[in-house]
Symmetry: C2
Subunit: 407 residues, 2 copies
């Protein structure tokens, strides 16, 4: 029997009525002849409520204890969904991370899944049960509870689909699929029917919030087709799949932005080998993810080094950098949280020249100054002043997507 | 180093401020030189909120799933208390049932603890940490989550104290200790300084809500002194300890009542051996606890059989009994949920005659009809119409406790 993994986000299970609605959708899939494993997020608002509680109780909440706290949200929603499915007359079982050993590393708050023991799930499926798994949570080798970071339930779902060799991982959310850009910024944004794993990774990395990056990486690694769709309507959403030839014809698939980064600059550091390691090792050890890094050597033997980190981590990063700065005799440290990263993504870039130049021209015509640039084979990102974000996104979407007849 | 187990109930951890207050109390105990293991209930109101959610989602919530849901309450409070203790600068660790293998049987909703693996707790204590354990929850041999029933955190705490050979189990609650009767019914009720395990079991069995019965049974079995006291004041509360000679001098230690029972009567059942087993086996299998049982054989070879069950279970019990009734050819089945059990408890009864007779006289003088009677060595219970409960309690308290100069 074919197996489907379905994932429902917080909005989709945000109330008793919605949980009942999801139960009916799950049962429909089962009755259409598939085995179904459902992965659920916490009810909308619950994770924020728990984060608030932690912050009220402790100024700097211990990460292990915070994860114990946060994981309770998915425990509640998985039990409720299982109860709702049973109330419709079909057997169902909820499982928590420790019961199906979703084993992760020890990086509390942003743990990575290492393995899943699917024995109990397979047994339950064989018994004809619908299986409901609490998303977002794992356990380390000592059975301490870990969580996978914001959007971590996507990754739970894809990992589950990979472990069970599901034919598809359906990600139900409150939007219709993946869009060419944020419709709130650009009303002419269109839903994509298909997108390649690599494009999706780049889009997620540069600000598209629809899937956790890690989940797409896993989907690509194990070739799990992911179908992102709305839990409130029947229409097909966006399929995230392996790249094929038709995708090459499209130059730019999406325009993304991210206002949640801050820029840190080390000024006039005496340049020498090992410098970058000295600066970034303490940051990596603190589990802070550095995104863009730019180094500009001057002729006077010093260098300016600029990098971006998540805004939420920038104060911690700054205090680490300031310690290093005095050791390496930097002239000073500057920080700017009011930046935005705007990106264009498309596999077509691989075979088309001049895309970057055109992007810079467009921004220049809009009078927008570029502070940093970073490129990959299928993506170009620029850092600009945060206040120009919407203007930049609209201009790039118009030029690269609307006028190219990409859709 | 001496070890103390402290248990805090839902009211004691009912808000962020109260959790911080508890953290300070826990730290005080630690700083006075004891190792401390804390067992916590869910924040006040949380378990009811979760029960409501379950009932909104499913008419007859599956018991396994319901336990997964309910156990989340203690997960939240144990993490928050651990965070709060750490915020005061002392290391602390929370543990859930599956992490310290509080193994129970499979009776979801009212599971009994079979064993605890204290390895991780001892290691944490050795490392100087304060240990916070989620109360109320356990896991069965397959790692399914179970809960111990209302007041189950008391039992978690005593079991933990027994497993760790703690010198005392302090149960912090929102009252000052164990009272001679419910002060809300009888303002002249007095706090007891000491009470024997057996008396406490009888009082808990007959309506005193301060401790879960099972916790006192465990305390008696493993001779764990239990100190019931208020989390809001420093004064000593009530010590629940082994019986000693001084306790014999007191005829009646407490007057209790319980309005949460319903009476079921099987009328004119043809009497024959094995009858009781036939009636009560299905009820036991449904995990419904039968309290009092009375059988009155008539001369016509039939018998009336009356018993009481928790009001919450009486509809389930009734439907089971009705099935049996037709098989055993009973004339009919009657049910009365509007009853109350009023009891007097005291180890002094063992050595004093006539206590029962005096109790019946007192109720008779008040014009209260007795519907059922049940006695043990140290307790007499009567079932009366619920509407006379307060009147009966006050009359018995006045006669047996206030006028006896027991205090």
């Amino acid at each position: 029997m074919a197996l489907i993994v379905q994932k429902y986000g917080g909005t989709s299970v945000g109330s008793v009525e919605r949980i009942k609605h999801v139960a009916r959708k799950v049962l429909d899939a089962k009755q259409q002849g598939s085995d179904v494993v459902v992965v659920v997020s916490a009810m909308a608002g619950e994770t924020n409520r728990l984060v608030d509680l932690a912050q009220q109780v402790a100024e700097f909440p211990d990460e292990r204890e915070r994860d114990v706290l946060l994981a309770s949200g998915e425990q509640v929603s998985s039990a409720l969904l299982s109860l709702a499915i049973r109330d419709l007359g079909h057997p169902a079982r909820s499982f928590l991370a420790h019961q199906v050993r979703i084993e992760t590393d020890k990086a509390y708050g942003k743990a990575r899944i290492k393995s899943i023991d699917s024995t109990r799930i397979k047994r339950a499926l064989k018994d004809g049960e619908i299986v409901v798994v609490a998303g977002f949570q794992g356990v380390d080798e000592e059975d301490n509870i870990t969580t996978l970071g914001r959007g971590g339930s996507d990754t739970s779902a894809v990992a589950m689909a990979a472990a069970l060799q599901a034919k598809v991982c359906e990600v139900y959310t409150d939007v219709e699929g993946v869009f060419t850009t944020d419709p709130a910024v650009c009303p002419s944004a269109k839903k994509l029917d298909r997108i390649s794993f690599e494009e999706m990774i780049e889009m997620a990395s540069t600000g598209a919030k629809v899937l956790q990056i890690r989940s797409v990486e896993l989907a690509m690694k194990f070739t799990v087709p992911v179908h992102v769709r709305s839990s409130f309507m029947e229409a097909e959403g966006t399929w995230v799949v392996e790249e094929d030839e038709s995708m090459d014809a499209v130059l730019v698939s999406g325009v993304t932005y991210d206002k949640n980064e801050a820029k840190i600059t080390l000024l006039k550091v005496p340049d020498r080998p090992g410098l970058a390691a000295q600066i970034f090792s303490p940051i990596a050890e603190a589990n802070i993810v550095v995104d863009m890094i730019i180094q500009n050597a001057s002729e006077d033997g010093t260098t300016d080094l600029t990098f971006t980190v998540p805004t939420a981590d920038h104060k911690r990063a700054l205090s680490l950098v300031e310690k290093t700065a005095s050791v390496i005799r930097a002239r000073g440290v500057r920080v700017d949280p009011n930046i935005a990263k705007v990106s264009i993504v498309g596999v077509g870039m691989r075979t088309h020249a001049g895309v970057a130049a055109r992007m810079f021209q467009i921004l220049s015509r809009e009078g927008i100054n570029i502070e940093m640039i970073s490129t990959s084979e299928i993506k170009i990102s620029v850092v600009i002043n945060e206040k120009h974000t919407e203007q930049a996104v609209r201009a790039l979407h118009k030029a690269f997507i609307e006028q190219q007849g990409n859709l």
